[in-house]
Each structure stands twice: as structure tokens, then as C-alpha cells.
Amino acid sequence: MNTFFSDLYKKANTGFWPVVIAFAFLVVGTISVYLNPRSLFAFLTLLTTPVILYFMKIDTKVKVFIGLLLLIVILPVLGIRNIFYLEVIFQMAVFSALALGLNIVIGMAGLLDLGYVAFYAVGAYAWAIFGSKQMSLLHSIPGAAPANAEFFLDARWFWLFIFLGVGLAALMGILLGLPVLRVKGDYLAIVTLGFGEVIRVLALNLDKPLNLTNGPQGITPIQRPPLPGVVQALGNALTPLVGHVPTEAEIYNVFFYFLALIIIGIAIVVATRLEDSRIGRAWTAIREDETAAIAMGIPLVKMKLAAFAAGASFAGAMGAVYAANRTFVSPETFSFQVSIGVLTMVILGGLGSIPGVIFGASAVTLLNIQILQNFSLYLSDLRQSDAVIPIINFPWKNLSNQLDPAKYQKLVFGLILILMMIFRPSGLIPAARRQRELGDEKEAE
């Protein structure tokens, strides 16, 4: 049976077949999502296209063409038809960036960091505090904002704050690293976990003596960058494809989608280039054997700090983007569970594997915000029907409302972590080392 499938795959993976298959998924997926914007199945079909592109033997030019077609034309158009998809993909990109960053720390350098969400929070709160009216409310108690409060900075400062988010998060990474890197393994995990909580609790309580974070209520409204005419024009260009004139909210969604796409693109390039360099090799060497690494002249503390800083910076950038996208941040968004979620993505995809963690982030995000939700909806539909569970004759109506799969995120994270650790510790797309042209292979023949 197994060989049947692998033979079939081999046949499908030769000649022009891969291109045909990729196009088939692309076209069928696009049409079915277009006609049926609510169907999860249609959406999943479409999302299979990039997976096919990654795995099958297709000419690079064709890959790039299909990929760009999907990312730049199809997804925005479909996304405006069902705004939820842009949101899903935006979140996939956000979490992919987080996973790429955490992958540097855990996957490459082997440092178990359970407080990674803190860096995300730093980036988000940086823009939240300066990009909202919060600076004018420093002396007022939460909830009692005077009507004349002004935005502190012009919305265009947002662009700078993406970079500031990078810098601040990197700095936090170093500040955390300095005391923490003396401890190893489990201890490091505990200390970083504590650090993550400290940042969240600070956000929760820094509404006194100066109201910096507005406490548990969070900060809103946070400004979005003003969109120049070009983007408006793009919106108009989309009109015939979408079937109506896109609203401002829709255009903003497309804008954030593209912004996230650009950042994730940069993150991939940076992570890939770091990995394949003196710095990345030093990180991996530290992960593999600290004693040997230091004997080769690698300064452990410096390189570990660099890993913390580099990893944190990805989260910092995405934090600022997230704050602007939501126009709202609150401490709740930065709970320990997010750190665990990102860890789950990294482990599911493959520690140290850049394509792996992107896949992991996409899969877990999809599972989280769409598949579980859909399942919940399905259950609640059943509850309202007269159907019974066969054999045991249990009416769905009597099923407890407490049983809501969307609330079982933690369970799902836990299950994924356990199953992966037992059955496939190197992840779904395990890390592979770059193969070099060594030129001696042929002599051996």
C-alpha cells in the first residue's frame, strides 16, 4: 500500500505533471473560494498550492510565477470577498515571523526560551503608547480619558516604529540574556518563562503611578499609517475583480496583508542568510556542543546574546504591525500561551528548519482560528438540530455548551507537542544542511 502511494507520487513528480497539479489546485482552489467564500474546504484546497510548490519538482521560474500570482493577485482579491481569509493569512504571516525568530533562539542556538512573547509585546506596546493618545493621558486614570486628548505622534511615525520595534526588542533580548545566559537548559526555560510573565504583568500594572499602558483595559485607538494614493488606486484597480468598490477597512486589510508579507519575506531572507554564515554556524555549533564550540574560539555569551537579539527583533517588528492592525493592544494578547503556541509551531514544523517553521506556523494558526472554529460552529449547528448521535441515541441538543472545540487550543498545543516529541522530534519538514558543490564527487566514480 505504502509503495503504491510512493510510486504514484514518484510518477506524479516527473515531467510536466507537477506543474499541472499545482495549477489544478490553484485554479480549482481559486474558483471554489471565489464562488464559495465560506467553505473551509475550498480555502484549504487553495492553500495546498504553496505546499505543492515547495515539495514538487517544478522549474524555479514557474514556482515563483505561481507563488506570486497567488500571493499578489489571488489572495487579496479573494480576501476582499471574504475578509476573514485576509485575516487568517495575516495571522499566519505574523506567527510565521514569530516562529522564524524563535527558531533562531531555539532551533539554531538551542536555547529554550519560553518567554518569547515578551519581545512581541515590547514592539506592540512601543507603537501602542506613542501611536495613540496615551502620552496625553499619563496623568489620568484608566477609562477616564479627557475629551481633548490628542494623538501624540503623527500616524506616519508608524514606519519608524517598525524599526524601533526591531531595535527595542533586540535590546530587551540582550538585557534578558545578560543575567539569564549563565543558566542552562531547564533553568533557562524557567527564567525566560518568568521574564515573559514579568513583561505582561508590567503591561497590566503600569497604569500607575503614570498611566503608561492603561492597565488591563489596554490601549485604543492606535493609529494606522495613512495610506498614500497609490494604495487607494490599487483598491480601485481591484474593484472589477471583487465586484464592488472596496471599503477603507478592506483596503487596510489588504495593506496589512501586504505589509506582513513584506516583513515575512525580509525575515526569511535574514534568517536564511544568518543561518548560512559564520554567525549561524557558531549558533549551531553551540547547540551541538558548547565545549567544542568554545574551544574553537566561539565566545559563548556574545553569540547567545546575538541569538536572543536576532530572534527578538523579528517579534518586535511584528509587534508594531500588530498594534497598528488591531488599533488595540491589551496585556491579554501577550499571555504565556502565545509563547507556547509559537513553540508548538516551531516544533511541529521542525526545529532549525526555516521552511518547516513557516509551515508549522501556518498550520497551527489555521487550526487555531479556523479549523477549530469551524468545528465549533458545526457542533453548535448540530445542537440546534434534532439529530441524535447514532448507536448511543444521544441527542446533540443535550450536548453541553461547555464542549466548544474553539476553547481547546491549549489541549491542541499540548497534544501536538507531545505527539511530535514522541513520533517525529525533528518536525514535519526537518532541518537540512545546505549541500555544497564540492567538485570531488565525480572523481570518485
Binding site: R273, L274, S277, T291, A292, A295, M296, I298, L438
Partner: protein, 262 residues
């Protein structure tokens, strides 16, 4: 003046004095061996030289500078490279990458060069890769550059470790039982390799070795340790005739001394 000079180096683990008053020197350009029964303190002595342990007492001078208080990476930067008794490779990196890690100190590329793939970066990487290939050939590794280090057989792994140490272009190479676990043919090759390293690259070699054929065949000078102390030193002929050495070995069981540790 000796290349490496230690004076009364003492290293204790709690009540155990693993290295006791070691006064020892290595002349530049020589191949020097340290021998001694199991547990004599040889590896511990290496670890104090390379900064893994800080000695409780004594001085260590390398190229007329003190190594005391330096971290292992700083010691490495002064020109000392080493291999380990129980091979320590970066198992899930390729053979070539292991050797590139050995060049860490010499490579000058920074984060900005790396991210923007500057000309400097590309040239340096190309150059490093070529050097790594040369080193693989030099130590006799063929067609394994892209293999993961952990997948190589034992002898191959020993070679990688040596190539990785050579990649740092050291002045002094410390080898901790480099032929342990090798068959006589492999040991023979290893001896030739060590000679070439010294003769062609001018690298001074200090090694710990149990295999007497290797020790006597290659060393120009031998120090013998027992219970943390240096009990004898001299040329191979002198050591062979030294009463205390024979006692140290035979008295504590020649079998143990010849046991080849992995």
C-alpha cells in the same frame, strides 16, 4: 624561550588534586607527548591549558603571555587548537561546516555583511570553503564534505576533528589520545599525518597518547604523569629506560595503561 611554559600548575577537584605542581614546557616546532596511566590527570592538564578549568595555583605562559584568566575562546584566539579524547563534533552539521566552524576566529564577516551578502562576505566564504576542502584532502577525507559529521565512521570523525583544529591555523595543536580506537594501519596513517602537520605547516604538537608504538615512534620529547604529577621527562629512549615510569605502568597494571579508551 619555550612556546608553552607552565610553572607549578595545580588543579584540584574538591579533595582530589588532579594536577599537581606541573612544571612543563614545549619548545616551538617539536612533537611532544604526555603519557601516564588512566586518571593521571593528563586531560585535566589539557583543560587547564585551554581555559576550561582555571588552575588553583601556578602560571601558564604561551608565546610569553599569561593564559591565566582567559576564557577558552580567548585561549583559542591566541593560537591553541585542540581535539578531544571522546570526539566532540558538531554532529548534525556537515563535515565541511564543522571545519568552517574551526575558522571562526579568522573569519571577519559581520552581521551586516552577512545579511546583505556583501562582496567581502561572498569572497570570504568562498575562500573559507576552498580552504576547508583543502584541509579535508589534507587529512584524508574524501567525498564526505556534505555528509553529516555524526554519520561518519570513527576514524573519519577523528580526521574531521583534526581538520577542524587545523582550520584555526594554530601555532600549537593539542591532541588528546588522537589514535585511541584505531587499528594499527590507521595509527600508522595518523602518525604520518601528525609529522606532516609539523613539517609542512610548522605547527607544534602536544599530544596525550596511550599507544606506546605511536608515542615512541613520533615523540621528540615525552613527559610522564602519574597521580597528577610529572614523574619523568626526556627523549623516548630515556623514558623507556626510566625506572619510575616502568613502575608507574607495571605497578598499576600494564593492561590498564594499554586499554584503549573511546
Amino acid at each position: 624561550m619555550a612556546l608553552l611554559q607552565t610553572n607549578n600548575v595545580v588543579k584540584r577537584f574538591g579533595g582530589l588534586t588532579a594536577v599537581n605542581k606541573m612544571t612543563f614546557s614545549v619548545e616551538a616546532g617539536k612533537i611532544v607527548s604526555i603519557i601516564g596511566p588512566n586518571g593521571a590527570g593528563k586531560t585535566t592538564f589539557f583543560n587547564t591549558l585551554t581555559g576550561i578549568y582555571t588552575p588553583e595555583e601556578g602560571q601558564i605562559q604561551f608565546k610569553d603571555k599569561s593564559l591565566l584568566g582567559l576564557r577558552p575562546d580567548q585561549v583559542a584566539a591566541t593560537g591553541i587548537a585542540r581535539t578531544f579524547q571522546n570526539i566532540r563534533l558538531f554532529g548534525s552539521m556537515t563535515v565541511l561546516e564543522n571545519i568552517l566552524v574551526g575558522m571562526h576566529i579568522q573569519l571577519k564577516q559581520g552581521a551586516v555583511d552577512t545579511i546583505f551578502r556583501s562582496k567581502k562576505f561572498n569572497e570570504e566564504e568562498k575562500d573559507a570553503e576552498n580552504r576547508a576542502k583543502d584541509l579535508m584532502e589534507y587529512v584524508g577525507l574524501k567525498n564526505v564534505g556534505n555528509e553529516l559529521a555524526r554519520n561518519l565512521p570513527y576514524g573519519g570523525q577523528r580526521r574531521i576533528e583534526i581538520a577542524r583544529a587545523l582550520a584555526a591555523s594554530p601555532t600549537l595543536l593539542l591532541l588528546d589520545e588522537p589514535t585511541a580506537g584505531m587499528n594499527p594501519n590507521e595509527s600508522e596513517d595518523a602518525i604520518k599525518l601528525f609529522r606532516r602537520i609539523r613539517d609542512e605547516k610548522g605547527i607544534t604538537i602536544l599530544m596525550i597518547e596511550h599507544d606506546m608504538r605511536v608515542v615512541m615512534g613520533i615523540s621528540e620529547y615525552i613527559s610522564v604523569m602519574d597521580y597528577g604529577e610529572k614523574i619523568a621527562e626526556g627523549s623516548p629512549a630515556e623514558i623507556r629506560a626510566d625506572q619510575r615510569v616502568i613502575e608507574a605502568y607495571l605497578g598499576r597494571g600494564a593492561a590498564v595503561a594499554h586499554e584503549q579508551k573511546v
